[in-house]
């Protein structure tokens, strides 16, 4: 049977792509080391943990899904996930490998658990997946992507949004889906997005480091307390676009209660509160 062997929460942002693509010298510069250094730690940890699959809870930014039919939850059941063209040409990465068998199993299990997800046999992933993922899951040169993924998209951009409590329960249902999979796979669950950022209005560019760090503390120590926050509170605390943190909450919901934070890093820079947190699961 499959097991959940760890969790990762990571911000996603186009800026992370620009810096990654600019090369090692820029990544390790004084300006970006506070973000990319911790990502290297996570890559090393993952190398040691050697998971077989990553289930990535993320959100799309109108690169795959559009307002003509916007899914509240959408799950990939494909064997490959091409990189979306977000309007500037797609980044030159090969398609990410998937696992249709695990995807379909998760689909059945989530529907059985009353999460009636949109099932996607074709899905292009945008920076919600591929801004953090190369830092931990990609070998430059011949190697390419290392670990097959199953993407699970959450609507965090068109209100009404699934509540923080609902996203927590989605994570718990995802855990049951993984634990009931027949193959002996080691799975790490990833939640991407946030932390604080505001991209519209007079507060454009506002970052709130105190709240971001409190969020990561609560996620580690009292994750269920975060299910009691309303979207109004989350928006006032971290900005309109910061509600992506519910993806982290779903990730945490998929881990056992006693999962322990291992790497916790935070860097408020320019218009983003960048967060990175990994969770260790006892064997």
């Amino acid at each position: 049977m499959a097991r959940v062997v760890g969790g990762i929460g990571a911000s996603h942002a186009p800026s992370m792509e620009h810096i990654y693509d600019a090369g090692e010298e820029v990544r390790s510069s004084d300006e970006w080391q506070p973000l990319f250094g911790p990502f290297k730690q996570v890559a090393d940890w993952l190398e040691e943990l050697r998971p077989d699959r990553l289930v990535v809870v993320y959100n799309d930014h109108m690169d795959q899904f559009f307002l003509d039919a916007y899914p509240t939850f959408a799950l990939g059941v494909a064997d490959t996930y091409p990189v979306a063209d977000e309007g500037f040409g797609a980044r030159p990465f090969p398609p990410l490998p998937g696992d249709s068998k695990l995807g379909w199993h998760i689909a059945r299990s989530l529907v059985a658990d009353e999460f009636d997800i949109t099932i996607c046999q074709a899905l292009e992933v945008d920076h919600g997946v591929i801004s953090p993922l190369p830092m931990v899951d990609f070998s430059e040169g011949e190697g390419g992507w290392k670990i097959p993924i199953v993407p699970l998209a959450v609507n965090v951009i068109l209100h009404p949004l699934p509540s923080p409590l609902r996203c927590w329960k989605l994570g718990q249902a995802l855990r049951r889906a993984i634990l009931s999979f027949e193959d002996d796979l080691r799975v790490v669950v990833v939640g991407t997005g946030g932390l604080s950022h505001q991209l519209t209005g007079p507060r454009f560019g506002q970052v709130t480091p105190d709240w971001d760090q409190e969020f990561m503390r609560l996620l580690a120590e009292e994750p269920e307390s975060l299910t009691k926050y309303t979207y109004k509170q989350l928006i006032e605390l971290g900005g309109t676009e910061s509600v992506e943190v519910v993806n982290w909450l779903a990730m945490r919901g998929a881990l056992p209660e006693d999962a322990k934070p291992l790497v916790t890093a935070y860097y408020a820079h320019r218009i983003m509160g960048y967060g990175l947190q990994t969770f260790e699961v006892a064997a």
Partner: protein, 118 residues
């Protein structure tokens, strides 16, 4: 009563009401108002649409049934006007791409905008 406190709390949880005036949402009102502009800007994720935009911006706009006011907002690169007309920031960045407008420039205008309602 059928509409329990629990139900009402759930209903309340999925969408904020009465945000401070310097914060905004993408919701029923904006999605409805911006339906044409969002469709137009979303199209720019496809390269042939970007090519058409560069070659003949008016012909590009014709495809989406934009109103005269909406076309004018696009022509004038009026980012605050487009935002108030319901354009989502996530498709606005695609329009900013084809018009070579850096996000910090849009951000500067946002900060000076006085809010979604002016």
């Amino acid at each position: 009563m059928e509409l329990t406190q629990d139900y009402l709390a759930r209903l309340d949880a999925v969408q904020p009401k009465e945000l401070p005036s310097d914060l905004d949402l993408f919701d029923e009102a904006t999605a409805t108002r911006g339906i044409r502009l969002n469709k137009a800007a979303y199209s720019l994720k496809d390269e042939p649409q970007r090519d058409l935009f560069h070659k003949d911006e008016e012909a590009w706009m014709e495809q989406f049934g934009l109103t005269d006011e909406e076309k004018d907002l696009v022509r004038r690169r009026d980012w605050i006007g487009l935002w108030r007309a319901g354009m989502s920031i996530y498709v606005m960045v695609k329009l900013s791409g084809v018009t070579d407008t850096p996000l910090p420039e849009i951000g500067k205008q946002m900060r000076e905008s006085g809010g979604a309602n002016g």
